[in-house]
Amino acid sequence: MKKFLAMLLAIVAVLGLSACGKDDGLTMWCIATKSDSNRHSYEAAIADMEKKYPDTKLNWEAIENETYKQKIKAAVAGDNMPDIFFTWSCAFLGDFVEAGKVYCLDEAYKEFADKLPEKMCKNTTYGGKKYGVPLTMNIVGLFANMDILAEVGYTEVPDTYEKLIECCNALVAANKIPFGCAGKETWCVTEYLESIIEKSIGAKALDDIFMGKTTKASWDNADVAKAVDLFQTMIDNKYFDPDGVSLGNDAVKQNFIDGKYAFYMNGTWNCADFSKKGPKNVKVAEFPVIDATKSKLGQLIGGPSDTLAVAKSAKDAANTAKYTFELGQLICKYGYLDGCGLPAWTVDYDASKVNALTQSVAKIVTDSDYMVLFGDTAMPSDEAGKYLDQVAKVYTKQVDGAGFIKALKEGIR
């Protein structure tokens, strides 16, 4: 009897503990876990903010990427959102905006308009209203291990498609693997496929397909099918590591760092790691043009996607919005200085120490004239799902170009 009373007391104690779990201050969720390359920029920015506003306590929480997607969606559904939350632009945030759960930032933006170019907010503007604070932005880059290229006689990253193919053939002949691509994480395959499609059909055409701007059956485009077939020909020609299909991105990236691949196409957030950990001699370029009649250099995949947003339910939302802008600006600054991405905000500080790779990415972006956002970010989540399904099948050759456009034509819109 006594024991059970003791147990009951223990339960009550736990209940009591859990009941007083809510603290004051702002809450924020993000994906900068302790092992994420963006972690430091968040920590530094938050430290700055706490110095500046000692009275505002920010309780922030970093959650692993995939879990986070689930968690934030569930929180939106359950009206349990944190005051400030990390989000991806376009469709991901769009769903929440549509549900009326996000605080409109138009009012707060006025104060920051001179430091944050309007076009950087394009992906988080819905119905003419701004809902997101962009952080860093990234594009897809073609990273090249120059030491391996040198072995087959190249001193520069091939800048035309013909040269790239020649280079790959030379690499294969020399028993080197040109590309590494993680088949276990479909977003890694999109980094390749989207670049190839873009450089085949042109940025405008691809953007229209992603955003669903063309008329019905926008995927019904024979040139897309051709680009997909081209990608598969490259796989057939042994340009890709055959083990890639069963690897995750961590392993593929490590392989590139260790000099197993000559090229690696992935987001430019990798710049920081590559300049720190190797390969020793690495350059970044954009993927060469495949069909010059439709595309040209300066057409990139990427753009501002990492975003902070404010919940409609936030405490003192007007001030929280301002706080979020300031915080976002700092995260952007530290992220850029760390080499985790390019700044969406105007640079008004000394950035000469940023690693050379990131600087060359900055140059590519400055010279660019069209950026198409990653397909899975641009599309609403249900369509992105179908799209990723098909992309995964392309890489493992379960579907060819014709099958790819047919499936998407029927599945999407």
């Binding site: 779990g21 994420d36 961590d250 392989n255 260790d258």
Partner: protein, 294 residues
Amino acid sequence: MATKKSVNLEQYQVRKSKGWVNVLISIFLAIWAIINLFPLYWMFTFALKDNPQILHTNMFGPPDGPPSKWFWSNFKEAWSTGPIDKFFINSIIITGSTIVITTLAAMMASYAITRIKWRFSESVNRIFMLGITIPMQASIIPVYLVVSKLHLINTPISVIIPYSAFSLAMALLICNGFMIQIPKELDEAAYIDGCGRGRVFFSVILPLMKPAVATTAIYTFLQCWNELMIASTFLTGEKYMTLPAGMAQLFGSHTTEWGPIGASLVIATLPTIVFYILFSRRIQDSFIAGAVKG
């Protein structure tokens, strides 16, 4: 009798399987034991490697062999990847509370079902037993919505209650098994002495159910300790995260240092293993009791 037994023994000797069969059996058991011990070995060596060693793969070196260079620093860094000690304590609190709630609820229900005669006791029991087959996934969305309406998200209670509910059927099954074996005369004697149902339950039945407590505790523990899906959805903050949720969080998005994560896995797993080694006999006996009675 004595002579018969000795004959019997002799026969037993004769009938014993042949030598080589025993050797084969021993070899099989040994190999199986090695396979089962391998994860521990692997985890410890994993914890002592750096990224290239872990991801660069060949047969006798890493990732499966011993590290070529030992990175003890991983253990130091493990603490900087996440508050594993906190996760561990959270896990203990949450699993512990679940065990208490489940056991109490199951004991009480079992008493009503097995020791009081009423028309629907068998049907009620059957309905509860359906719980064994219902997967946690089935109610994760609605439960989340309810829990969040009550503003209990990211509190231990938000996982303790679902865990208790999903462990209940199994616990009830075990309790019924134990309770049925307590002779009915005991209660009847107590009733004649003028005790009420409550008194009988608390002062006659419960003290006799101690072995059942250990058994339900073990089955409940096995169900909750490693649970990932509910924990990672309901516990949004590091403050209350359990070990599995915390460890899953350690697997970062784009960059991941694997060595310290391996070290965290070791730190997180070690106490359970040590506890198991120390009490393996009692744990197994209680587990077995559950199987026999349930």
